[in-house]
Symmetry: C2
Subunit: 515 residues, 2 copies
């Protein structure tokens, strides 16, 4: 077999089942290898940001990597922003990036670039195959890296001749190390801190600590200690809703976040680091935890959160039943003009059990998160790295990973534009995604940020750079052009009807909510 | 003044007049500085690939840089593909890339990345400001680099605190060095080679050698020596049409290119390097020039092509009148179903004098280039670096640079999808661009390449990765959604009518040509 077949075959043996692809000429042997590998699904994206964002969504839901197929350095470049987000989410991803044949590189043909250099800033691990025989080995190593708990971004650069040369063979599936466990003395020390600490305390949760099983343990700890449960502002995957342990969300703006946790005297971190301001602002602090608080690291993102929380609960002799279990609760939706509040209430009311929400709702999406706290149990996925244009691709990947669950993409208009091509992939694969565009005709967050960074009296040129109204984007029309049926709504009644219709149907729909 | 004002003010003093922008929070002070700088136009793009591609188109037409405004490492990542193309075109561009405040970086907030690492692969020069006072100096240096003949990509990374801190000041406009001249002995040696060389000879032209004035000199050389004039396959800016010196185009596919120049015995290169195969293919050569030919470098891309060709023509005692002047000639257009041939003929017939064509027509665009050889004089801009998604942004930039000239974007459907957001900028700025989508529902080039790289009997999964028909993209609908009026045509008659209407109007139009 050729190198490409050995490589893709090894990945398949490892359990990789999906290839999100945007190939070019230098990847044709990889295309053929995916074609010939039984059980490897190929999903085409019409832009690389769709491909990498979909791989992120898939990784978050499947807890194993998909493989991407990207076209040399520039194609990888187009995928970097969503790889950045994936890396921040701790998602498992394997990138296979074609490059010129080794002997062709020095001719400096037009598409020649430093593919390794492009890969490095947004990959946890980068490897160029050294031969057709080495390519499969690189794949096995990439799989092991990608599966490092909770997940990493591993990039293999594949020179075209390594892909097409014959004489290669698959290699064995690597043994995966177990997730790193938090040592017993750290558990004991954390238990001591919670028991002896004066004043208000909390567990500050992120990463895998926001899965249902880990939250049960966090709820037991809350029951034993009275600690609040607070989570990071942008969570990769948060399992929540009625019957699950409820977690408060740290606000986005630094000063609000600072005020929110100001009274705490003991903060235990699990699956994440102490929160910092998303951006710097003149005269405002970056580090948000109160200086007088005792900060205790129970587990980093890369340590087994479930194990650590279970051990801590047991060390505290916590009751079996968690505290803070969320009651079913649906806020009322005011009729009339659609706004963030009645929008969120209707979403909560209609959210199907076990739904997956890809939330890039930005300024308009925050209310929906609050309103859905007591909705049916669901997974809530967020923009982890701040590189906008993640929401729609993430929904694609989640839907591929979980074909039996309804996916709802809650998408702000400005950020949705970066990767609107994802709609086409939803249509092609008939993915069960309901996309809701929150159209306020503005980079609304930036209008807020303009004054927060100290810009006074912005002129028309500045404001124009934050405005999406001239011309107004008609997302419904754009969606239909890409093959996804769409409607526009601007009242609570129309939104409820459109959402009910979309959720009852199987397959992609788009609702443009004019707010 | 603050650092941002000193920086942007210095750029304005240098002659930079346009900022293509996609800012975020960390760039708000730069937004405000652009706002306050009289004579600096701000053009918003809804995706960074639009921004960098527009800067490329602007640079090619204005022969001076625009400045881009990009949001940290991930935003720059989204712009890399078109920076790659710009760099290959030798276009002048200055990137200003915001980054976190220096003191905020070590907190590793979600958007933190190695912005320098992201910049390096696609920049000729990268600099991080060291203080608010240094920022203006970095701007002046970036301008000088960008204006290095014929142009370079210069990237300045701007920590937010350098932008907002007060106490900075503008710096002096740098003195620009003249373009490097080819030394006299190289001119003499080239003249000797052309005079003494046996057998067929040619000038192989690229870069600035394809401007009208340089081509007159090339035509004089042709008149004196009988040399053919051949140009690189993908030219940054080729001035052509009736009354200008005609240049043959090297075919794209390596073996066709090799055959095309097989008989030549002397090849003189000016503004470009000896041609190589765009990709490597098993068993096919990368280097295309005949082994028995004498290869003579007159001038590299970075040496003054006009000066070199003028000196060479004079050294050859060439006549004042060039040979190979193109006659006006319009091929006939067959009626009925639209195809590449009648499409190209109608385009040639209606092409306005002094039009600018942004050609990313791929497989369907080649005929148009041939057909328009004898059309009214025009500029033809191509995809120089092979990173698709350049055509529409390039048209945006060309239209901003040349508001009195009609721009025609000849855009393949597959590559157009990567940066479809450019249509919105055309609508917002009411740019005089007629976009023609060549919709064949396929990555047609890849279907050809699949067999060329040796893949036999591709299966349905492989073919699906090269197919855009399921679902069909309706570009007209997509265009209207982004604010550009659009029609679909599938006959020669309908295309002629639609093109005539679009060219008669001022402002953006889209014609979706179903081929």
């Amino acid at each position: 077999m050729n190198g490409a077949e050995a490589f893709v075959g090894t990945l398949k043996d490892c359990g990789v089942e999906v290839c999100f692809a945007n190939p070019g000429t230098s990847e044709m042997q990889l295309v053929a290898a995916v074609d010939r590998t039984h059980g490897m699904r190929a999903v085409l994206g019409l832009f690389e940001g769709v491909v990498t964002g979909a791989a992120d969504g898939y990784g978050r839901m499947a807890d194993k990597p998909a493989v991407t197929l990207l076209h040399l350095g520039p194609g990888l470049g187009n995928g970097l922003a969503n790889l950045h987000n994936a890396r921040r989410a701790g998602s498992p991803i394997i990138n296979m990036v074609g490059d010129h044949a080794t002997y062709h590189l020095h001719y400096n043909a037009p598409l020649t670039s430093d593919a390794q250099g492009v890969a490095r800033p947004m990959s946890d691990w980068v490897r160029v195959s050294t031969s057709e025989r080495d390519l499969a080995q690189a794949g096995a190593e990439a799989f092991a890296v990608a599966q490092s708990y909770p997940g990493k971004v591993a990039t293999v650069i594949v020179p075209a001749d390594h892909a097409w040369n014959e004489g290669s063979a698959k290699v064995a599936v690597p043994t995966l190390p177990a997730p790193a466990k938090v040592p017993a003395d750290a558990i004991t020390a954390t238990a001591e801190a919670l028991k002896s600490g004066e004043g208000p305390k909390c567990l500050f949760l992120g990463g895998r600590a926001l899965r249902e099983d880990a939250l049960v343990q966090a709820g037991r700890i809350a029951a034993a200690t009275g600690a609040r449960l607070i989570c990071e502002t942008f969570a990769a995957r948060h399992q929540r809703g009625a019957g699950r342990v409820a977690v408060e969300k740290l606000p986005y703006f630094g000063e609000m976040a600072q005020a929110y946790i100001a009274g705490l005297r003991t903060i235990v971190f699990c699956g994440t680091e102490p929160p910092v301001s998303f951006f710097a602002y003149p005269g405002k602090p970056s580090f948000l935890s109160p200086p007088e608080a005792q900060l205790v690291r129970l587990a980093s993102l890369r340590e087994d959160a479930l194990d650590a929380l279970t051990a801590l609960a047991d060390a505290l002799d916590a009751p079996a039943q968690p505290a803070l279990v969320q009651q079913a609760a649906l806020p009322p939706a005011a009729p009339g003009k659609l706004d963030a509040a009645n929008f969120g209430a209707i979403l909560a009311e209609l959210l199907p059990e076990n739904a997956i929400v890809s939330d890039e709702g930005a300024t308009q999406g925050g209310a929906s998160f609050v309103m859905t706290a007591g909705a049916k149990p669901h997974d809530w996925l967020q923009l982890t790295g701040g590189a906008i244009g993640q929401g729609l691709p993430l929904a694609v990947g989640a839907a591929v990973a979980c074909p039996d669950r309804k996916v709802i993409a809650l998408q702000a208009d400005g950020s949705g534009m970066y990767t609107n091509q994802a709609l086409w992939t939803m249509a092609r694969e008939q993915l069960d995604v309901t996309t809701i565009i929150l159209n306020n005709g503005s980079y609304a967050i930036l209008n807020i940020e303009l004054s927060r960074v100290g810009v006074q009296n912005p002129g028309p040129k500045a404001l124009s750079m934050l405005d999406l109204r001239n011309p107004e984007i008609n997302w419904a029309e754009l969606s239909r052009g890409l093959g996804v049926p769409a409607v526009r709504v601007d009242t609570a009644e129309a939104f409820r009807e459109a959402l009910a219709e979309a959720l009852a149907a199987k397959g992609p729909r788009l609702i443009e909510a004019l707010l």
